[in-house]
Symmetry: C2
Subunit: 334 residues, 2 copies
DNA sequence: TTGTAAGCGTTATCAC
DNA sequence: GTGATAACGCTTACAA
């Protein structure tokens, strides 16, 4: 059996109170310090976090609740949040709702029952019920990636409009007039923003997008594939396309291969978020990159601040800028 | 403040003992059952897991300790382990050691201090110190992906030799005689197995691999890239190559693009584990696929069994077979 | 079947 | 600075 603070106290000839105080950084006499240190070493004492948690009504764990683990975005978030919060004493519980709003709500309740000290939420459900549940239980919360408008909450997002605008604008600069876009569900904050940026850039250039060239996928490889086929199946084909999410970019690429199109001769392509893929495909892909590491780290830090009770700047929405990479997948056109 | 079992007992006019028993599935009179149910509903009672944990010396959490979150293999493991263990009441803590053996050991101790009830370990350090530490603390452990020979432990792995053998054998069948391989660190269980399979197949066909055609990368994209360049920089170039890990496959592809080689005309390629990528590149990549989902689920189940105290079949090594996908990236040769 | 009370390992409060 | 003791919310003998 592991030794407890009592054992340490007994071995050191002190009271548990004193030992506890020392462990928690309160001042003690030098002689007692060394006695305790000795005892700890000899007994190989490690404080019991559960007891600590019970006493302090804390679990020293936070959760990241996310839609699906298959996106680089999500795993990158886990990584940076863990790196930020573990050194602060919080372990990170990962919860995946498998793109299912009902499961998301159930797992939210589960996490509350587990008494997590804070939650980073990459929302899937759009009605905000998860958020209400978390807030009703007074658990610190940071939204990531998606803003759910009607709910007041800390929030870390990408400047999606800018990403959509920049990509489209660049294509327009290169002379493209018929530009297609593959977006996600319009109700999603990210998709809406990226689409809005696209539309703004088009409007600014007095271009009117063909209705069928605005296709909605479901964020999956298949969704992107199908959307690309639909786009190519229109009377007036686009000369360029902006794909507003990672997996759909892969899918669209597949479709482009299937259709035997050459990039950028037949179509110029700008994708999204395409870490390793971007350079492997030939020609290299142009894309809008999210500063995922910064976003995750920021989320971890903000959550920690809230856990510590600092709500001085609540609620806060932090918007990160995308970085654009223009490679050989886009070309000038007359 | 959340209500406790005491509140429920008071509201229902019963003792805490009775309520506790009911909650834990012991039999009670129908009338008390409904009284408790009522109280629970009215008071919105949720048992405090921390208190429960303190009492039972359990945390109801398990950890997955892994080298790096950037591989599909690892994230896929998290996903299937979470799916398996959450319904059984265990939350999954993710811990990343960033390919750093010392950090791995530190985080192991951290998890022990956090009193996790079990650990799934995808080992990075090869000396087995993490394993000793975990076992010394009597924490159920399942090794995943890598076997560390000198340590007795439950273990779930791929049949790496078979993967190496099958890939190489197929290339030989197609007439290739000069086959190269990019492996990882020879000290790693996975790399050693895949290399052995390669060598076995060569030997069986009375082929002697060129020394410089056996190149060791560090599992990274860069490593694969450099290894491929080294291989192509030899006097006698291979006509086919087997790349024994996901990231290095991407890197080798990059290098092949850089060298302006055509697949499969200039070189036939079989990669590893290449879920989405395999179909995006042109031509589609042949590869050996691990049954990651099964492996993760198996790890979760086995860990749970150990947590429940069932050591009847300990220690167990479960070896999964790879599935081979042969696509247009390999060709017949004279 | 139900109630009582001790105890899990900490920390906090209050004396000394 | 240190020690004694009462919590934190739950489970579990044991008693009724």
């Amino acid at each position: 059996m592991a030794s407890t603070i009592r054992d340490v106290a007994a071995y050191a000839g002190l009271s548990v109170g004193t030992v506890s105080k020392y462990i928690n950084g309160k001042p003690v006499k030098e002689s007692t310090r060394s006695a305790i240190e000795d005892a700890i070493k000899v007994l190989d004492f490690h404080p019991n976090n559960i007891a600590k948690g019970l006493r302090n009504a804390k679990s020293f764990s936070v959760a990241i609740l996310l839609p699906m683990l298959d996106s680089t975005f999500c795993t990158s978030m886990i990584s940076s949040i863990e790196s930020t919060l573990l050194p602060l004493g919080y372990s990170v519980i990962v919860c995946e709702c498998h793109n299912d709003a009902e499961m998301e709500l159930r797992k939210t309740q589960y996490l509350i029952d587990r008494m997590v000290d804070g939650i980073v939420l990459i929302p899937y459900g759009l009605d905000g019920k998860q958020i209400e549940l978390i807030q009703k239980n007074n658990i610190p919360l940071v939204l990531l990636d998606q803003e759910i408008k009607k709910h007041k909450a800390d929030c870390i997002v990408l400047d999606n409009e800018l990403a959509g605008y920049e990509s489209t604008h660049r294509l327009i600069e290169l002379g493209h007039k018929d530009i297609a876009i593959i977006t996600g569900n319009f109700e999603h904050y990210t998709s809406r923003g990226r689409l809005k940026g696209f539309l703004d850039a088009m409007k600014e250039a007095d271009l009117i997008p063909v209705d069928e060239h605005i296709q909605c996928g479901d964020y999956s490889i298949d969704g992107g594939y199908e959307a690309m086929l639909r786009i190519w199946d229109t009377k007036k084909r686009p000369t360029a396309i902006f794909i507003s999410n990672y997996d759909m970019t892969i899918g669209a690429y597949l479709a482009i291969n299937y259709l035997n199109l050459k990039i950028p001769d037949d179509i110029s392509v700008i994708g999204f978020d395409n870490f390793p893929l971007a350079n492997v495909v030939n020609p290299p892909l142009s894309f809008a990159e999210q500063p995922t590491n910064e976003m995750g780290t920021e989320a971890g830090k903000l959550l920690y601040k809230r856990i510590c009770g600092d709500y001085s700047d609540y609620p806060q929405t932090i918007m990160h800028k995308p970085t654009m990479y223009y490679k050989e997948s886009i070309r000038k056109i007359n």
